[in-house]
């Protein structure tokens, strides 16, 4: 990644679905190492915007550049390579239920041909970091909501991505667990990762204030408002 260049950049982006415009004239720049919150009421388009940020959706107007490359010029394989640099955590995180937690976390290594690293000590350290060492051999359906979110975070960062996108990561877990997850995300940011969290939980944003400088972006009426307002 070129130092100083934006890792994700949206320029006058619009997105329509089923005849209705969900997002309109969105411009956003995520610099390396920055920390952002994306807020807004349910249905405002936070998840849609997150999906646009990792190439899961293509804009109906405007330009999106991921690591400097316009997504319209990327084929499916290029998008796959981009996703190895973007860790994604969803509220309704999905796993391969027939594989163990360890296998699910190391899945990005498997699909990118780095199987050997699944045997390294780094995986053990990562499992320890997210507090899942004793759940390594469990199957995903056996995990609690918090454990699932931490497993998803571990999977999202195992490739040491440049960006971590978390969509309502604390939506299904209790306050204590959400604080623990937030601390992990802040730690990642301090390691130089760009973090974008979509949430409608203002307490989460306030709790972050003491640890890191974060920008808060609010989506309302299909547009980003209050963009650039510091917490």
């Amino acid at each position: 990644m070129i130092r100083g260049a934006n890792v994700i950049e949206l320029e006058n982006v619009a997105y329509s679905y089923g005849g209705g415009e969900l997002l309109s004239d969105i411009s956003l720049k995520l610099a390396p190492g920055s920390f952002h919150f994306l807020t807004g009421p349910s249905g405002a388009g936070k998840t849609t915007l997150m999906k646009l940020c990792y190439g899961a959706l293509l804009p109906t107007a405007g330009h999106i550049r991921l690591f400097g490359a316009d997504v319209r010029g990327l084929d499916r394989d290029d998008i796959a390579v981009v996703r190895r640099r973007v860790g994604v955590v969803h509220q309704d995180v999905q796993f391969l239920d027939h594989l163990s937690v360890t296998d699910n976390i190391s899945l990005p290594l498997m699909v990118s041909g780095r199987q050997a690293e699944t045997q390294s000590g780094d995986l053990g350290e990562l499992m320890s970091w997210v507090g899942l060492t004793n759940r390594a051999d469990a199957l995903p359906p056996e995990l609690s909501g918090g454990e699932r979110q931490r497993a998803a975070l571990a999977r999202a960062v195992i490739m040491s991505p440049d960006v971590v996108l978390a969509d309502e990561p604390t939506g299904n877990i209790d306050w204590e667990m959400s604080q623990r997850l937030l601390r992990l995300l802040i730690e990642l940011n301090k390691m130089g990762k760009t973090v974008l969290i979509a949430t409608h939980d203002l307490s989460l944003i306030r709790a972050t204030k003491a640890h890191v400088q974060a920008r808060v972006l609010r989506i309302a009426n299909r547009r980003i408002q209050l963009a650039g307002a510091d917490l």
Partner: protein, 300 residues
């Protein structure tokens, strides 16, 4: 996207890539059974085709080089006309040998209809002359003209009247056998495509997760292609072995046997069925690859 360059990777396998797709018992069993059944039928279609080919060759080759002359004349002239016909045949180009059938031989020919005690002298049975041609063959039209002029009671039958339909029938039967193999391969392709589509649709969530973590289409496709190719291959191996056992249990061919007892493999033809599992694997490889490409594009 997946192409033949990935064939070696497919054969070598990737244990971890194989594991990302959950095992699907129903489609696995369906694919194995259908591949085995189709391979079993393919063995018989192949046996039919090869046997029909041998029959066509035999009829076409052996009968094409022989002819028969009937001497239809009063008893007192039959000997002289037979000698005259043999004399003409000795000087006819393309005739390797000619001989009049003996009374015993003619009696044996008629025995199925008149019994073994037939007195040939009492019946106006024509004398038969067997003519064997050289590899170059004779000119039947020219011989007919000479016989008409010098042996009025001689009728030349060069077997073409009944040989050609037989050879044609055998050739059609051979073609039918090959067409059956092509249809079996098409049916395998259709069945594998349906099973692969079902497996891909059932694993849409798995595909979504794999894409989320950065899997390329060829990685995802390979997991499905390898699975279906190996299932079709091993199913076909089972079907082929069973088919060969069934062919072995058929009555063996003999000189007295008809076409049905000759249905089977001879000599190097026993090696042909070995190709069936590889054909099934290749068909599954192509069908699953096409299904995977289409589904992954739709799911993108």
């Amino acid at each position: 996207m997946f192409n033949t360059a990935n064939l070696s990777a497919l054969v070598a396998g990737d244990r971890q890539a194989d594991r990302v797709v959950p095992p699907t018992g129903f489609t696995a069993q369906l694919t194995l059974f259908a591949a085995a059944a189709m391979a079993f039928l393919a063995v018989f279609a192949l046996a039919l085709s090869l046997a029909a080919g041998r029959l066509a060759d035999r009829w076409g080759d052996a009968l094409a080089r022989s002819a028969t002359i009937r001497i239809v004349a009063p008893l007192d002239q039959r000997g002289a006309q037979t000698d005259a016909a043999l004399s003409i045949l000795q000087t006819t180009k393309g005739v390797q040998s000619a001989r009049a059938l003996s009374d015993a031989e003619q009696q044996a020919l008629l025995a199925p209809w008149f019994g073994p005690d037939l007195a040939l002298d009492t019946l106006p049975v024509p004398r038969l002359i067997e003519v064997i041609e050289t590899a170059e063959g004779m000119d039947p039209a020219g011989l007919r003209l000479r016989l008409a002029a010098e042996v009025p009671g001689a009728v030349l039958d060069d077997h073409s009247r009944w040989r050609e339909p037989l050879v044609q029938a055998a050739s059609r039967l051979r073609l039918l056998g090959w067409m059956s193999i092509v249809l079996i391969a098409a049916a395998v392709a259709a069945m594998i495509t349906l099973a692969a589509n079902a497996a891909l649709a059932a694993n849409a969530q798995v595909i979504a997760v794999l894409r989320l973590v950065g899997a390329r289409d060829d990685y995802i496709a390979r997991a499905f292609i390898r699975r279906f190719t190996l299932r079709a291959f091993w199913g076909a191996v089972t079907g082929t072995v069973l088919g060969l056992l069934a062919v072995l249990l058929l009555p063996s061919a003999s000189d007295a046997g008809g076409f049905l007892t000759g249905l089977g493999f001879q000599g190097i033809h026993w090696l042909w069925p070995i190709l069936i599992p590889f054909l099934a694997g290749a068909v599954a490889f192509a069908a699953t690859g096409a299904a995977a490409r289409r589904t992954l594009k739709e799911l993108a």
